[in-house]
């Protein structure tokens, strides 16, 4: 995965779907931040955005379905990623949920922790 900047991945169709569906495209200041979270995770995981989605899915005779195992692994990888960045508390939750937001807008049903305190 290239690390030349957030816009590397900003043009991927899966990322476009996320940015359009979430409304980040209309809020450029926020867009850069969430793209940075995703780019960092792609680098951490050594996977492209499309590969992240594929890792959460499995093929069945009726088409693609959520892979429970893949989703659990993805949750663990996201937790490891935010920890590797030295994030904790609300910051860790927010960055991890940026990544989850990307997956969600691409059809992966996944929920993350809630920042209440």
């Amino acid at each position: 995965m290239s690390s030349s900047g957030a816009d590397d991945i900003g043009q991927c169709p899966e990322v476009r779907r996320w940015l359009t569906g979430s409304g980040y495209d209309e809020r450029p200041a926020e867009r850069a931040g969430v793209l940075d979270s995703l780019r960092g995770f792609c680098e951490f995981a050594g996977q492209t955005p499309g590969e992240l989605i594929a890792a959460c899915l499995r093929s069945t005779s009726e088409g693609m379905a959520i892979s429970g195992k893949g989703r659990r692994s993805m949750q663990a990888a996201i937790d490891e990623y935010v920890a590797s960045r030295g994030l904790a508390g609300r910051d860790a939750i927010v960055v991890g949920n940026h990544v989850r937001g990307f997956l969600i807008h691409n059809g992966v049903f996944i929920q993350g922790p809630v920042s209440i305190s």
Binding site: G23, I66, I104, G112, P113
Partner: protein, 262 residues
């Protein structure tokens, strides 16, 4: 709140104020409403277990989570676990005779205590318990569902938000809360004060009556009378459909409050 407005205002609420506990008296109202529900043969089908999130161990709380309820469980302060008791017919004979003695089931309609003993019990309930597991399950699930419907509407009437979810971690729930083996899980009802506006984005889409309801025979859809529809709008049984203009912003603001995906 008036009855029709309660019906019209009920939504599945998914955003709660996690910091605001639900008063015990409001839980009692919810349970009383459930206890007043219609119930075939006057049997006691539903069982409910009220649990507050703040009292749960981390282990039990983790076991309740599933991919579709994590956020809701984090936000709702109170959970009501609904079950039915598969032994509901055990007391039904006495409960039914009580209705005869109370002049609810009367001779005018053919009822007597002897009929309950000799027919309802001996020829219906006993064989049903022996041979008709599917029938028992169907009846218990339906009757418990009716009680839960009352509970949902009572919560709305008390100014609360509420939503039903599938129950996960049933084995852990049984162990942690000493749930009897004869209780069968039905729904998990989350209860709390809604964070979102009471309208929760607007009334949920429903198809016209004529799609699902019929009159005379099943080739003749029940056509709604526009004057009645207008009356129901005035009474707020029918409300403005979603999404309301502010919904996107409302959801975004709530998501940010909790650091959730947008």
């Amino acid at each position: 709140m008036e009855f029709k407005e309660v019906i019209g205002t009920r939504r599945s609420i998914r955003w709660f104020k996690p910091w605001k506990p639900v008063e015990r008296e409001k839980i009692q109202v919810i349970l009383e409403a459930a206890n007043r529900s219609s119930r075939a043969v006057n049997a006691d089908y539903p069982r409910a277990l009220v649990v507050h999130r703040s009292e749960l161990s981390d282990e039990v709380f983790a076991s309740l989570r599933n991919p579709t309820t994590t956020v809701d469980l984090d936000l709702a302060p109170t959970y009501i676990f609904w079950f039915y008791d598969s032994e509901y017919l055990q007391d039904a004979r006495d409960n039914l005779k009580e209705l005869v003695r109370n002049k609810v089931l009367t001779a005018s309609h053919g009822w007597s205590e002897a009929y309950v003993d000799d027919v309802m019990w001996a020829q219906v309930f006993v064989p049903m318990q022996r041979n008709n597991a599917a029938g028992l399950t169907f009846q218990a699930a339906v009757e418990t569902g009716i009680a839960i419907g009352n509970a949902l509407n009572a919560a709305v009437d008390e100014g609360l938000g509420t939503c039903l979810h599938a129950m996960s971690g049933v084995d852990k729930i049984r162990e942690a809360f000493k749930v009897p083996d004869t209780w069968v899980p039905v729904w998990l009802q989350l209860v709390g004060y809604p964070l979102e506006e009471r309208e929760a984005g607007g009334q949920r889409p429903r198809r016209p009556l004529a799609k699902s309801f019929f009159e005379g025979d099943c080739t003749r859809p029940f056509e709604a009378d526009p004057a009645v529809t207008e009356r129901l709008r005035a009474a707020r049984l029918l409300q403005e459909p979603g999404p309301l203009p502010y919904r996107d912003t409302e959801v975004r603001m709530m998501s940010r409050m909790f650091g959730l995906p947008e």
